[in-house]
Amino acid sequence: MTIADVVKLLDAEILCGEDHLDTEIHTACGSDMMSDVLAYVKDQSVLLTGLLNPQVVRTAEMMDMLCIVFVRGKRPEPAVVELAKDKGIVLLSTEKRLFVACGILYTNGLGG
């Protein structure tokens, strides 16, 4: 699927990265613990999280991830959005909870 599909499936708001919505993605992970993302994730291109600080964007950048989805209706500070813009990472916000958001993407073909 593409990032645009994620936007549609999660009824998400696009916070930045409108230019990259056509990018193909195949896998995702969900975690509030960046330590675990750095330790266990391999080649996942989407990160779903309820954590909002700048290190979420840094972690995604180090892992070459393309898109971050903030769950539970959360929105990060403008400085975090700016950092993501700078790195070319798409930021989305959805009202759905982490478990539900992951479930929707998984059942629609996104792998773990």
């Binding site: 613990m33 330590s35 330790a39 954590l51």
Partner: protein, 139 residues
């Protein structure tokens, strides 16, 4: 042998800027044409180290020496030191506070992860004096 040497001050008071040095090294390696897989190993290992310096040791210095076939990274701090390095290397062991965990770190995976992504890692630490971690990653 000639190398590209990069040196950074890691600001221990600014959690938001943690990762700046690793990002800069990542960008430089990409520009030098190092393979994406190697670049990612360097980025993750160094970023974990940088985060450690900020959350445990009030910052310090990060030095990267880039050679044609590998990179050497020195992470030097004047923090509290590590009393039991074997214990600190155990996955899941952490002395991080609840405050650090609420920021998404402190799961006790930092040092094991740095070892996992590097080809050589040495820790030189004295309690009350500081810690120097050396990482070598082959390209």
């Amino acid at each position: 042998m000639d190398c590209v040497r990069l040196e950074y001050d890691v600001d221990g008071e600014n959690f938001a800027s943690a990762g700046n040095a690793s990002e800069s090294v990542k960008r430089t390696l990409k520009q030098l044409g190092v393979s994406p897989a190697s670049v990612r190993r360097v980025a993750i290992a160094m970023y974990e180290g940088e985060i450690n310096m900020v959350i445990h040791a009030h910052g310090g210095k990060a030095i990267a020496e880039i050679y044609p076939d590998h990179i050497g990274i020195y992470l030097k701090d004047s923090g509290p030191g590590i009393a039991d390095i074997d214990l600190a290397m155990k996955a899941g062991y952490s002395t991080a506070t609840e405050n650090i965990r609420s920021l998404g770190f402190g799961a006790g995976m930092g040092l094991p992860n740095m070892k996992k992504y590097s080809d050589e890692m040495t820790i030189d630490s004295t309690v009350g004096v500081g810690t120097t971690v050396y990482l070598r990653i082959d390209f």
